[in-house]
Symmetry: C2
Subunit: 127 residues, 2 copies
Amino acid sequence: MSVLVVASATTEGRAALLEGVAEARRRATTLQWCNVGSTPVDGAAELLAGVEASQVTRDPHQDPIDAVLDVVAAGDVEVLVVGARRRSPLGKLVLGSMAQRLILDSPVPVLTVKPAAGAGGGRGSGS
Amino acid sequence: MSVLVVASATTEGRAALLEGVAEARRRATTLQWCNVGSTPVDGAAELLAGVEASQVTRDPHQDPIDAVLDVVAAGDVEVLVVGARRRSPLGKLVLGSMAQRLILDSPVPVLTVKPAAGAGGGRGSGS
């Protein structure tokens, strides 16, 4: 059994990877991660230091959420970790369809995490 | 620090309580739980056996989600556990507004769990 992280190069995707590492330690298990974005995750190896981690390679033509759910359906995943955006100052944000679909369709529990306050609001924040 | 469970007498609310117990054990911490429904949770003491648990009493006139978020804001919570319904056979279900609000507004990670398949689709299933 392992922790499966829905990762990406965004601030949210990186927050998920960090929390996934903590979760794998708590559960004393391995970590799998799937990059659901189209950009490589810079520094993933450093983020994953200290856990036994493997990247799920996916068919780029397959819907990324279907790819994640296929891994879950294969039966070796005990929890999914996914990042979510913080609510905007105007409060208008609704939960992204990706997170919502995963929460609704995953047969295993889903841990939703947000980037630390001030960790950058968008894509590819440098540090 | 503790695990805070958003519980209720529904099948989902009881699933959250059960997963919360497992989560408190994994994190070697205490459990707090808040009944966001209007019906007592039958057999809560049995569900909570083996962890140090306390119930959050809330003002019945306060919005239950605000009550949960107030406890989180007080700073002693490391993860929220909340139940969600399974997608209906017709696939029409969207994530309940309670779960969505908690995921969007909680400053701490939220673990969303679903009842075991066949655990009853509604309220107050007997066993």
